[in-house]
């Protein structure tokens, strides 16, 4: 842009540091996804890139774009807020799916708890082997 040569150094240095740390955090999460052994261990590293990596990138974008323009740019915060709302939902659904599939496969995982609060089906007895979400699978 026209005024991009006028950005002072004390704005550029924090933005550059935030960008570098964001890249390193995302890469660390990816290495964790690759290297860890179990699926339930591998659920943790993507949160590194999804929370702190995104926050750092959005903070760098906000700092730099606010310095180049004439007014502060803060709408970039929508992305971390949105990710903070949606990532737990995806993670919980994936964890439940993985647990369900392992129970179907007969792996050594914790048994289903007795159906108390928030369950969709309450007809089964408390000690039933049938897992809640899966008895209408094709």
């Amino acid at each position: 842009m026209s005024s991009s040569g006028l950005v002072p150094l004390w704005v550029q240095i924090p933005a550059a540091l935030l960008l570098v740390s964001s890249g390193l955090l995302a890469l660390t999460g990816a290495v964790g996804v690759l290297r860890l052994k179990d699926f339930f261990q591998r659920m943790h590293p993507p949160a590194l890139g999804a929370t702190l990596g995104t926050w750092c990138a959005c903070a760098a974008s906000m700092i730099y774009l606010s310095a180049t323009g004439s007014q502060p740019v803060i709408h970039t915060w929508l992305i971390p807020i949105f990710l903070a709302l949606t990532m737990p939902v995806t993670t919980l659904l994936l964890a439940r799916a993985a647990l369900f599939r392992r129970r179907q496969a007969g792996a050594n995982v914790p048994p289903p708890q007795s159906r108390g609060t928030g369950s969709r089906r309450t007809a089964h007895a408390a000690g039933s082997i049938i897992v809640d979400p899966g008895d209408d699978l094709p």
Partner: protein
């Protein structure tokens, strides 16, 4: 744009690209379906970050909206696939 910012943006983009490649490996070699879904979800996040940093590089607002849309579709796709694993169907 100064050399410092260009170097930092290049480094961040390289890290995101490497993370995308590593997640792609997990997507192809994942032992179970949930591993593949998780790798795809992380690839969505990395692509969103890449678009965001490219928007910083070219000082454009269009990239921000594209990044927001990528995050939205990543959430919808991943939760739909996890729901499919859980129930066998998506819309009941």
């Amino acid at each position: 744009m100064s050399t410092l910012m260009i170097a930092a943006i290049f480094f961040a983009l390289s890290c995101y690209a490497l993370a995308l490649a590593v997640s792609l490996f997990r997507l192809f070699h994942g032992p179970a379906a949930q591993d593949r879904i998780q790798a795809l979800d992380y690839m969505y996040i990395n692509g969103m970050l890449m678009i965001l940093v490219l928007g910083l590089r070219y000082t454009s607002d269009v990239f921000f909206e594209a990044a927001l849309l990528v995050a939205l579709f990543g959430f919808v796709g991943s939760s739909a696939m996890a729901k499919f694993l859980l129930r066998g169907e998506i819309i009941e």
